[in-house]
Symmetry: C2
Subunit: 140 residues, 2 copies
């Protein structure tokens, strides 16, 4: 039942997961900004504060770091827009999210739970696993 080995490979995996965590926030932000731009035509600090349920200060600081990474930029009107890199990331992110949700739904998971689980999982799936999920969806 157990079979897992306490190997040195665990260290590499552990590091990979930590790195993924540091990317999650950036992905969540570009995804949210992309959605806000589509729905409301603008993405401001206050909007994002509402989305994530954190203080406006946390939003500002997060945006600063994400701006430094070249994913978003300020507009003249005080809002935020996505750079090309940001747009690409938002698109991939949204597609991946959709895929994971559809996959979970096809397994019989309820809609709300599929959304919630996808939110957590989506940053930890390799291209290989995503392809496998896609193939599975197409094969049914």
């Amino acid at each position: 039942m157990r079979g897992r080995t306490v190997s040195t490979k665990a260290a590499a995996r552990h590091n990979r997961v930590r790195k993924q965590h540091s990317d999650e926030l950036a992905e969540d932000y570009v995804e949210a900004i992309g959605a806000l731009l589509e729905e409301r035509g603008q993405a401001r600090v206050t909007d994002l504060q509402g989305v994530f349920g954190v203080s406006h200060v946390s939003v500002i600081r997060a945006l600063k770091r994400i701006e430094e990474r070249g994913l978003v930029a300020r507009t003249e009107t005080g809002g935020y827009e996505l750079t090309d890199t940001g747009k690409a990331m938002a698109e991939t992110s949204a597609e991946r999210h959709e895929l994971v949700v559809r996959f979970l739904l096809s397994l019989g998971v309820s809609s709300g739970q599929a959304e919630a689980d996808a939110e957590g999982m989506e940053h930890h799936l390799s291209a290989e696993s995503l392809e496998a999920m896609k193939a599975f969806l197409e094969s049914r």
Copy 2:
């Protein structure tokens, strides 16, 4: 293709994911300690340092927090053992890990990648999704 709504529910999900992250380390530690105890009969700071590839200081601090949460306890000989709560968590954790790996393998994901992805995903799956995966495995 998009369809996602920037709802207030996003805030709740976001918070849930953050909480999961704070639990991940604890789960990883009890899981590793469980495996070490099985394989070597002891779990010391140095062993865990090797497992996770971090400094012994990080291990000590993590263990301190985990000890405060009642998951592990010091042995007379200087090592660590699992409390009943810790044992239960380690067991669930290991079973869940196994399940996720088997599930990914059954989708056709390669063994190494399944291991790696499971490591990241396993902390973000609800009981409902895990059940769905189990059902899927049994139905084939």
